[in-house]
């Protein structure tokens, strides 16, 4: 369980990233955070694995206040939280398998990983996960030889190989075309349901949020302005979150082909 208690974050330049955020995310939920760019979605998500550090309040992950964590504690926290990025963040010159195995780095000792001495079961796990996202045939291809959608699937396989308890996805489909976006969201949704991994996704496409989320959290200017199950969400809710009427480019389009 992840719990934000009066969490605030002020960046060194004075910008307020988060203002008095109080949110509780239960195990197994699929939560989508929506809001305009700059609303604090990324800051919210990156606070959970401490890529940014909130400046006030308490952030509890499995009952521990993670804002005090540093060094080894912080790395242990991060091994149980997987992350997916807008730009896939693969090592472009390394092959697919090596990229996926990087998900084990937090579990494998420094020497073992530097000498490429992964336990057999780790390599098997990486291969299984590549099969799960349907890209096992690209095992030895370099990451930069793959299309955007394929790269994002490799990064999903990397996160799965990490065997996390939580998955954070920061705008995972913003660089993809509509059909590929739906494919990626479908994988995330499927993983959430079958592996019971709590998943938090940042999106700015309203239709995708509605299609995949269990629960929607709306953010504006660093504050949570809506929090509720997807059944309670209407067009007016989004207009309130966005602070304006809904436009064409707030929609991804292209219904799921899966």
């Amino acid at each position: 369980m992840i719990e934000f208690k009066n969490v605030g974050l002020v960046y060194p330049n004075g910008t307020e990233g988060l203002k008095n955020v109080n949110v509780k995310i239960n195990d197994g939920e699929f939560v989508v955070i929506v809001g305009l760019s700059g609303a604090g979605k990324s800051t919210f998500i990156r606070s959970i694995n401490r890529l940014v550090t909130p400046t006030s309040g308490e952030l509890l992950v499995d009952g521990e206040n993670i804002l005090e964590h540093k060094g080894k504690n912080l790395r242990i926290l991060r091994t149980k939280i997987g992350m997916i990025f807008q730009n896939y963040n693969l090592v472009r010159r390394s092959n697919v398998l090596k990229n996926v195995l990087a998900g084990r780095l937090g579990h494998v000792g420094t020497f073992r990983s530097i000498l490429n001495l992964y336990p057999k079961e780790d390599v098997a796990l990486a291969y299984e996960n590549l099969k799960r996202v349907n890209i096992a045939d690209k095992l030895y291809n370099r990451a930069d030889e793959l299309s955007g959608g394929q790269q994002q699937r490799v990064s999903i396989a990397r996160v799965l190989t990490q065997q996390p308890k939580y998955i954070l996805a920061d705008e995972p489909v913003a660089s993809l075309d509509p059909p590929t976006s739906h494919q990626v969201m479908t994988y995330l949704r499927k993983i959430n349901k079958t592996d019971k991994i709590t998943t938090i996704v940042n999106l700015h496409f309203i239709d995708m949020a509605m299609e995949y989320a269990d629960r929607i959290i709306g953010m504006r200017a660093g504050e949570v302005v809506f929090d509720g199950p997807v059944s309670e969400v209407t067009d007016e809710t989004f207009e309130e979150i966005y602070g304006r009427t809904i436009r064409e480019d707030d929609l991804r389009g292209g219904a799921s082909d899966q």
Binding site: N49, L51, R75, I76, L77, R78, T79, K80, I81, G82, M83, F85, N87, Y88, N89, L90, V91, R92, R93, S94, K98, A102, G103, L105, G106, H107, T110, S113, I114, S155, R158, V159, Q162
Partner: protein, 270 residues
Amino acid sequence: MSKEMISKKSKSPNLYPRKTKVQVTIIFALVLAMYVYSINFTAGQTNGGFANSLSNMGEVIKKFFPPNWSILPAIWEPMATTIQMAVIATTVAALLTIPLALLSAHNITTIKPLYYITRISLNILRTIPDLVLAVIFVGLFGVGVFPGILALIIFSLGILAKLFGETVEAVDMDPLEAMRASGANIFQVIYYGLVPQVLPQFTSFVLYVFEINIRASVVLGLVGAGGIGLTLDRELNFYNYPNAMMVIILIFVVVIIIEFISTKIREALI
């Protein structure tokens, strides 16, 4: 507006403002005057003017020919020593560069004081010419290969750490962030996220510095730091020009071969 409508009298603007034109003209005139003056001055200093020194040059060059091929077997060994010096110095410098370059890259070393200290020390190191280093080390350790190797290590360290440090600063930080986010420690982040991105450039820089070191180690020999340069210096001091010519030819051939191979490898890498 059609072309006919622009009368010949209508004013067209200059390509550059008048002021710039005047400035550039003055600068060019000054540079030209400097050249003319220094040619005259040099000719005045040279005994018998340029004509004489040219004929003198011809005389000296004649003494270098024909080169003495018979000493070739005897100079292989100092040549090999020179190459060995360059290999050892480049290898040690390449190993030492890795931590220094990482410490002098602001995206990896987030501790500001550490970054600035490394930066400044490397900058100071680079200001010392290789010849000066060799003279200092020959003074400290005596004539021989060891001071030459030390001078080359420090000299190449300056170049390598600068080139490599800047490459590290230009890498894509996204994969490093992903690894940090998955709980990897700093060594794993560097090894998995950074190394694959910079390895080709690093190898290329090391080969390039190796080329430089071959040439530099010849020059260092002249001040007593071992290798073929020492042999060349001795032959010149004895006015043994045919032998010196043979040494020069050997250096020339070896340097060209090594540069050719190294350039080919570097082309294949990048």
